[in-house]
């Protein structure tokens, strides 16, 4: 799992509440990514980070924000959760050595009621 942990692993929340998911890595990787995974879709990029305080949007960023105040932590926030954000969320890091391989964490299953 490339030294990646995600918390919480499971969460049930109600529509309209804020939710923050945490991704933590221990190997000082520069690039970190947040994806969501839904039936019928491949993994879709929400946001990514290319360094502390450096982030950018992915293809499905609406309704999500991110923050990276230190190298090891990348936070994903749903400001006001909606049922359409029920999904499994994966964090990934980009491997070292100039390759574009991404390695994934164990995922967070989020249910918005």
């Amino acid at each position: 799992d490339a030294g990646i942990t995600q918390s919480p692993r499971h969460k049930v929340t109600e529509t309209g509440t804020p939710v923050t998911l945490r991704c933590h890595q221990t190997e000082n990787h520069r690039y970190m990514y947040w994806y969501r995974q839904d039936p019928g879709h491949g993994l879709r990029l929400i946001h990514y980070s290319y360094g502390v305080k450096d982030t950018d949007k992915g293809e499905v960023s609406d309704g999500y924000s991110v923050s990276r105040s230190k190298t090891e932590d990348f936070l994903l926030t749903l400001e006001s959760a909606t049922s359409s954000q029920t999904s499994v969320y994966f964090c990934a890091i980009r491997g070292q050595g100039g390759r574009d391989t991404q390695y994934f964490g164990p995922g967070t299953r989020l249910t918005v009621l």
Binding site: Y48, V88, F90, T101
Partner: protein, 114 residues
């Protein structure tokens, strides 16, 4: 378990046989390709990768073949084992600067029968 993959194409293979999983990619500019394995309730796990200047790469029991003419990628698993049962999907990377943005396929479920 995971709800992802409810409607995935399924390949059923007998233990000990070889498996071939196919993937069509979309971007002719893609220069790097990865195969991932995802078991129920877990994150995707890297299996093997290949760059566009190659057409074949072998790992332990796995081989990836790349046909750029028809934008097709395949993963071959030799002597398939029960532990190979999972969802497999490919990813492609098109050069977009330094951020490594991968595009992922939806996957194929491999079922290994005894």
């Amino acid at each position: 378990g995971e709800s992802v993959g409810l409607h995935l194409p399924t390949l059923s293979v007998q233990e000990g046989d070889n498996s071939i999983i196919n993937c069509a990619y979309s971007n002719s500019a893609s220069d790097y390709f990865i195969w991932y394995k995802q078991e129920s309730g877990k994150g995707p796990q890297f299996i093997i990768d290949i760059r566009s200047n190659m057409d074949k790469r072998q790992g332990q029991r796995v081989t990836v073949l790349l046909n750029k003419t028809v934008k097709h990628l395949s993963l071959q698993i030799a002597a398939t084992q029960p532990g190979d049962s999972a969802v497999y999907f490919c990813a492609e990377n098109a050069p977009t600067g330094t951020a490594s943005k991968l595009t992922f396929g939806t996957g194929t479920r491999l079922q290994v029968t005894l």
